[in-house]
């Protein structure tokens, strides 16, 4: 397992993706799993930096990578005010198709096998994702 703490800036997205890529390859993950992990990490860390911590560099993003027997698990936690994922409009609805934002969660759900969100008692938002082997 690898635990990483990242500052709330856009560069952390690339940094997180590089670390995850390296870890996934060292664990012998297939190209399909490595691609899904890369995409899910980029989207979730970008959400945590932008929408969670709102670029506040006094707050960090916590990333955990875990190569488990049933698959590759990722958790990403921010320390913002949290939100309800159900409130995010469906980007594939006709009225949302031409909106510039709002597709990250769709990508995470499409490429990972399990995606769950929780609002920890001490604040922020935590997303846990699993890509099965």
């Amino acid at each position: 397992m690898r635990q990483i703490e990242l500052p709330s800036r856009i560069e952390s997205v690339d940094e997180a993706a590089m670390m995850a890529d390296e870890y996934a390859k060292s664990c012998g993950c297939s190209d399909e799993i490595t691609f899904a992990v890369d995409l899910a990490i980029r989207e979730s860390v970008a959400n945590a930096v932008k929408h969670g911590n709102k670029f506040d560099e006094s707050k960090t993003v916590h990333l955990t990578l875990h190569d488990k027997p049933d698959g590759f698990e990722i958790t990403v936690r921010d320390f913002g005010t949290g939100f309800s994922v159900e409130d995010i409009p469906d980007p594939t609805d006709a009225e949302n198709l031409l909106k510039a934002n709002g597709r990250g969660i769709l990508f995470m759900r499409s490429f990972m096998d399990e995606v769950e969100w929780e609002n920890p008692a001490d604040g922020g938002l935590k997303v846990k994702m699993l890509k099965k082997r």
């Binding site: 997205v13 980029r42 970008a46 031409l98 909106k99 510039a100 597709r103 990250g104 990508f107």
Partner: protein
């Protein structure tokens, strides 16, 4: 090293942008936005984005394609996509944006479609 390089070519009144690299949150998306804005400022509103050299695109990059499409349309122009990789095609399918963009596998067909 920059995330993306954008090379501009002209074919008649169509401006072709060859994108090589990543269109992701931050530099890659901003570079595309700035290029489209500049072209529209120069009155060039028939634009073909060649994505054959784009190895990676995230949701911000997809959002930038959509913003570019709407910005060009607002100026009375047309923006189309050329040479989508399988991964980009998959992402556009998931987001149902294949129903929005005109996409082409080869440049002559893409250019002919502007006439």
């Amino acid at each position: 090293m920059a995330d993306i390089t954008i090379t501009e070519r002209q074919a008649g009144d169509v401006t072709i942008l060859d994108l090589v690299g990543k269109v992701t949150i931050g530099e890659g998306s901003v570079a595309l936005r700035n290029t489209i804005r500049r072209l529209l400022g120069e009155g060039k509103n028939k634009i073909l984005l060649n994505l054959g050299g784009v190895g990676y695109i995230d949701s911000s990059g997809i959002g930038e394609l959509v913003s570019s499409f709407t910005a060009v349309k607002k100026e009375g122009g047309v923006l189309k996509l050329l040479s989508l990789t399988q991964k980009i095609q998959d992402l556009l399918a998931i987001t149902k944006l294949l129903t929005v963009f005109d996409t082409f596998d080869d440049e002559p067909s893409a250019l002919a479609s502007y006439n």
